[in-house]
Symmetry: C4
Subunit: 253 residues, 4 copies
């Protein structure tokens, strides 16, 4: 089965619900179809039967992930079910955020192109319309150089994961200088939504900055709009799932 366990202590790890695994798989495809991830980047979800575990693909391009590739990790980023030969080297992004943010149920790490210039120039990413209102809560920038000097830019250790999580703090997103961004959400659909619209907001904000001084959403507008949009996530999720399934089906045909 999906979360079939090949590890020694598998008996103690409950299998993830099939629905959760299926949602994680389709979320991988959706992020690829929307140019949030390319061959790189990843999405995880906290286990539905225990908050100290999370699910994420083995080392694989998101566009190729299927149910059999989903591994269960503990909060030290060790595989505890359906272990594989290789994992994402940056799985500590996920484990360290889950440790510190009990409200977070799903995480996306990506190198979505439009977000890169904001990490590189420190122009503050701000909500230009209601669709990306969640950005109003803050968009801190993490510079790995301040945490660890000269590195290969990757979050390869628990310590680097912790430093990133500290910069993220209670915000929905953290930009990473010379690298990408990490978004968090209260579930798969919310974090996918945030990844897609953070990317779009970045494009629009760059366009608007060329036209003049943009009027961003006021803090109160952003709070109210973010809450409203959360009530319509399902409308977007249903569309994305439909398109991703159609694409997967046409590939199999």
């Amino acid at each position: 089965m999906v979360a079939g366990d090949r590890t020694k202590n598998s008996a103690r790890i409950p299998a993830a619900g099939r629905d959760l695994v299926d949602s994680l798989v389709i979320a991988n495809r959706i992020l690829f179809d929307h140019d949030v991830v390319d061959a790189f980047g990843h999405i995880s979800v906290r286990h539905d039967r225990g908050p100290t575990k999370f699910l994420m693909s083995r080392h694989l391009a998101p566009g190729l992930v299927t149910a059999k590739d989903i591994v269960t990790f503990d909060l030290e980023a060790n595989a505890v079910a359906n272990s594989a030969q290789r994992y994402y080297s940056e799985r500590f992004i996920h484990s360290e955020i889950y440790k510190r943010r009990p409200d977070v149920v799903a995480i996306v790490h990506c190198h979505a192109p439009p977000l890169i210039p904001f990490g590189a120039t420190r122009t503050k990413l701000q909500p230009i319309y209601h669709m990306s209102a969640f950005l109003g809560a803050g968009t801190p920038v993490f510079d790995i150089r301040e945490a660890a000097g000269m590195t290969d830019m990757l979050i390869r250790t628990p310590a680097l994961g912790a430093a990133l999580a500290e910069t993220l703090a209670d915000k929905p997103l953290v930009l990473m200088r010379g690298h990408g961004a990490t978004m968090v959400g209260n579930g798969i659909s919310q974090v996918v939504y945030r990844a897609i619209y953070a990317r779009l907001n970045a494009s629009l904000q760059m366009d608007a900055l060329k036209l003049g001084t943009p009027i961003y959403l006021a803090r109160e507008e952003a709070e109210k709009a973010a809450a409203s949009i959360d009530g319509s996530l399902e409308r977007a999720w249903n569309l994305w799932v439909d398109a991703a399934r159609a694409k997967m089906k046409s590939r199999q045909a």
Copy 2:
């Protein structure tokens, strides 16, 4: 049937012609295929058997709308035929414009990305070529903050719809700060055309502004060109329908 009525007083509401419903469905798909709408945004058409009713999808992504999802609303934005569990919260955009603009037969509300910077910076959207000549009639900007202070940015009430309609006045389009835009037309093909080319004009105008000071169409040129283009709408509509149908068909295969 398509507009089969499930409401108590359905006997008094004539069913919408099948052709009109079909056109509205295909228009939903066309707007999605041309990146005017994504999971959000909507299009309505005034009822062909009574000007005090209009047709619009239930709460659903436009890319997924089918004939069975089309609801009939009255001008208070109440469903009067083929009612559903949930409606677009911003249906008052439509009802209040239909009330005030007897010339308007179809309305699009969208968050098309290139239009957002114009609402945010107040750079005036102007016709850069004959294809978008209709913009020469005026492109006012609605700021919900002036009408209602701090909100979630959405046109959730008749009063907000009325305020938006007042800003639109007799123009073909109104930009909405931090939100999107709303276009009106004398039929489905005209409003779809206006939505597609307003979006394209926004992109081109941003490009031109980087090159220098654009020469926009003169008022008289714009009037004449807009009238001319209206005589060729069918050429575009036929292409869009053909492409949307082919896409729907390949999805079903």
Copy 3:
């Protein structure tokens, strides 16, 4: 047959060779697939059995054109074979250029988006790389206002076509303020090539102008490179035909 004649004097008009008609049809599709034309724009070719005739589709979106839609026109832009109910109102662009340019065998008129800002701002379109070297021969801008005052921007008459042809002179391309562009070539593959790479050059030149002062091809480089590229047109044409045919086939499946 393809160029079957339904007009009175059809006996005197030789039918266009099937190959030429097929090439013209596929060129329509290629221009659409490469975003040179959308629902609007057109391509013509001089008749292969008489230089005083040319072939062009009836009033139809290029993406929908088939062999049965190809009409034969004389140099007054009158249909003389396979006449239809409606023609492109701007067919005088073609007739007047064919009159004045015996070297021209094919013509494209389009509103390709990246070219619009160059017509609107008068920033000179110049060859930024060898692929668009033909632009080095000159890229004049036609402003219809200088020829005819306030118009609907369209080349609706022989006189306007003549004025445009005068501005084009012996150049490969003429930009049209607030409207689009017209390219000419010594055959279908050359004019399609020129349309595709004029569009691409426009994008790249806008990008380069944001980075600094571009070094354009010198006149002599441009002449030599244009001649070289002409020797490899077939490589591109074969690719484009292959892709367009595959798309047409998948639509019929």
Copy 4:
């Protein structure tokens, strides 16, 4: 067989391994699918059974290349196996680099649009994120005018190939003013990766320059990140091959 030899001295030239030819074919398609090449541009790989030979397609658009089109060349750019009627005129780019760079196993020459502005303006292409860290090793610009005065911009001779190779020196990439770029790698997957991410870096750097003064990767960060990424090339390659194969399959269906 694939590298079946039709030349006189074929007995002395070992046939290229089928896997290498297959990889080269799929790499041609991948570069086309990722807009690195269009109808023009080419990729070669050093022969796996002799460093003084290399494999490259005959004169053909990369999107159409199949195994039977792969020709074996010697380091004078003469065809020595599976000869054809016509070759890329710029095959000297490949032969002269292979001569001087024993570490180079694969080469891409392209006109990828986002790279053109960097060659034309001399704005230095620099790594804006870890994905394109290899650019930190240097991105020299070759101006053919300095080597040979007024030309058709093409590397048509061994001498021009040698001049280009001299400018490339020990770097991973050389930009070519008014023309394009050439990337080298230690194998097909690395050079394809470098071509795709050089193109993407160019886009992102242009965006970032509009926002402010970008912080590029430090030299040490770039070295470390480039080494790290090389350890994950297979993840990207597998995705690209999967997508290219699916596209080829759907074309045959």
